[in-house]
Assembly symmetry: C2
Homo-oligomer: 203 residues x 2
């Protein structure tokens, strides 16, 4: 419906196609973004072009936690005040940030950079579970905390990791499920309450 | 809330900031896009970087219609089979495409690349209305069809242009308002029906 009837100049078409590769961006949004950059924000277009080039060449994966870094070992992993006995496994750097935001965790991290999604062909190999196994088996890690999301895919990933890691004799834990802080029971979904009941604890 | 607690490497932070300049992209989406490109689509990141650079250097505004082109005069304006007596004014190239999709218009175009939005400081000068005035006064144009959007801002723009162009002795028309093709009156909003009544025509 929004297919161009007038032949778009090639550089514009190429830009729209490139923008469409961004997650959540369809034909219409890509066209809007392209028009915006070309008409109103040439500085922004230039900035984005350079930032992409710089990021793709300068960033690498931390050899220890797999997160993005410009060094071989990232600042968090290199921090001597972090507890090397605790390793928290998250799906993305964004999840890692959320855990840091609690100011309640002083251990280290491992970033999967994804989750098991067999339907998309993302299995243990694609996520390099062997790297995590090696990292967790460094002799210092005593507990692996699985902090993957509480979605179907995140749970599957946690289940798979739990089996893999505990078979190596490691202590494996999972973030607690329960009623969110500050919420009224009336507005909490029943499956969350069911979990909270099952995992109830002595006061 | 999603502010990074862990210091993000500079190239990653720069990329996220650059992505935030895209329309409709906030902090969270920008971060998701950055992770996606870096983790799953390095080829796409490279492609986007090049496309941006190519588009910003190669594209210019057509001297006649103000649309994007790689030549001085775009293909549409240079097409001798187009009727030079008709000039259709649209807000964006996307709107131009929609009119072309009707296959019912053989005249030429002028692309405003925006609309009057006084609150954002976008007035007649920013939209270079003088260029349109010059274009419409080429001696060949006999009718200017205002096809700006039927939003408050589009209507204001059309009103302003109508006054400006008709004061130069040009015939100025506006796209008809009325009931959309294929729609049932029961589901059409009252203001549209009011317009359709006022502008009713003999069968």
């Amino acid at each position: 419906m929004n297919e161009p009837q007038i032949a778009e100049p090639e550089p514009l078409r190429a830009l729209i196609q490139a923008l469409r590769r961004l997650p959540g961006v369809g034909e219409r949004s890509a066209r809007r973004m392209a028009y915006h950059l070309l008409q109103h924000d040439l500085v922004g277009a230039d900035q984005l072009s350079r930032a992409l080039e710089h990021a793709t060449t300068a960033l690498q994966h931390c050899q220890r936690c797999n997160g993005f870094t410009v060094q071989t070992i990232c600042e968090t992993c290199a921090n001597p005040r972090r507890d090397p006995a605790l390793l928290c496994v998250v799906e993305t750097p964004a999840d890692q940030n959320m855990i840091e935001a609690t100011h309640g965790y002083r251990g280290l991290y491992y970033v999967l950079m994804g989750r098991l999604t067999p339907l998309e062909g993302i299995g243990p190999d694609a996520l390099q579970f062997d790297r995590l196994l090696e990292r967790a088996g460094d002799g210092q890690v005593q507990e692996v905390i699985l902090a993957t999301n509480f979605t179907a895919e995140g749970e599957t990933t946690a289940h798979h990791l739990a089996e893999m890691l505990s078979s190596q004799g490691l202590k494996v834990t999972r973030l607690a499920r329960g009623v969110p802080a500050g919420s009224e029971l009336e507005y909490v979904d029943p499956s969350t309450i069911a979990w909270a009941l099952m995992e109830r604890r002595a006061t």
